[in-house]
Symmetry: C2
Subunit: 221 residues, 2 copies
């Protein structure tokens, strides 16, 4: 494989894992909506699911524009993403909300970071279509209210947030270990290259943003 082919394959895999992640997130959110305590919050979760689905459509369209079979590419990442989902199945409404918020935020951070290392067109697409779902105020309010009503909830949800972060990192590591082309893109196959110190800083930025989100929810990171 030439460097160009390797880069192209890396981009395809990156779009594929993001697309499968959005599909999975969208459908899990729709399932979690069944646990909503009120109709209004059930609709809000539906809105988050719909936003994830819109991201999915943009990623499928981009993959098809590259002449790829979007579904075949996505399929490669189904086992890893589903494993993450199964290991982080919310047991109640609040865990579902925290997962939606933390997952959405992590994904948006990751999109932003990664788009800097891609060619301009792919980077712009990813920044444009894969921002957060824009429903974080609703989650923050619901979680803060629940913690206020029963402070013991805070400890349990803080633990849950750490577990989500740990599982996300361990699945991300597996993707990097198994997918050379994708790793190549993340590590410098793109326009600008990334060194190990930069990986460390990226990791720091992502965990800091995660701590910020947990604090916004009124929880210890």
């Amino acid at each position: 494989m030439t460097d160009d082919e390797m880069y192209r394959q890396g981009i395809v895999e990156l779009l594929g894992v993001l697309a499968y992640g959005e599909l999975s997130a969208s459908q899990r959110l729709a399932e979690d909506a069944a646990m909503a305590p009120t109709l209004a919050s059930r609709v809000e979760l539906g809105r988050m699911a719909r936003a994830e689905f819109a991201h999915l459509e943009a990623l499928i369209a981009h993959l098809e524009g590259l002449g790829e079979d979007a579904y075949a590419v996505m399929e490669m990442f189904a086992p890893m993403v589903e494993k993450f989902q199964n290991r982080t199945r919310p047991r109640d409404w609040l865990e579902g909300l925290v997962k939606a918020y933390v997952g959405d935020g992590l994904a948006a951070d990751f999109y932003r970071e990664i788009s800097a290392f891609l060619d301009e067109k792919t980077g712009a697409l990813i920044q444009e279509v894969c921002a957060g779902t824009g429903h974080s105020d609703f989650v923050i309010e619901e979680v803060r209210r629940a913690v206020q009503a029963d402070p013991r909830v805070a400890g349990r949800l803080a633990l849950w947030g750490r577990r989500l972060m740990g599982e996300a990192l361990s699945q991300a590591q597996r993707v990097v270990a198994e997918r050379d082309a994708l790793t190549g893109v993340l590590m410098g196959g793109g326009e600008s290259s990334i060194d190990l110190a930069e990986v460390g800083r990226l990791f720091t930025r992502i965990t800091e943003a995660h701590s910020g989100r947990m604090a916004a929810l009124g929880l210890d990171a």
Copy 2:
């Protein structure tokens, strides 16, 4: 209550039952998507769910435009709609597809019929936002292929279609029996009035359209 108040209340209830129906349909479709045999068909079902959700948003916006608490109105119809959903829970992917197609078609027929009896603005909204989800070709293809591969499937799915229709009619009857204002709108509280002979013809048109859809799937009605 004056006639005008009665009509307004009837419209509000009509929009409420439609809205709750769309929410419920959207989330059941998202759940059924987990049974999809391929990733492409899973995404297709997600598209149907997203279209139902867009209808829901339009109905909520209209209710709020009328100064109503959309969620409180929807809540009134939750038990009836969920009862229908629980009595018609698909056991497999094909039953889910037939339910999506038949339910979507019935809803679209009903919207079309009912909009003729409403004031112009409400009627136009309902016609505009509540058409079918436009994904019927996909369902027709999948069901026909399954029947071709195993003709015994046809008998089971034909029975299923009849059961869906029966449950839908019996729930619709309950709504009419329990909601005077809504019934008033359906029976002539609106711009033009409807007599019993017209109800009979409406019923005939809806069952004929249902038979046509079953035939399109390659199934006996």
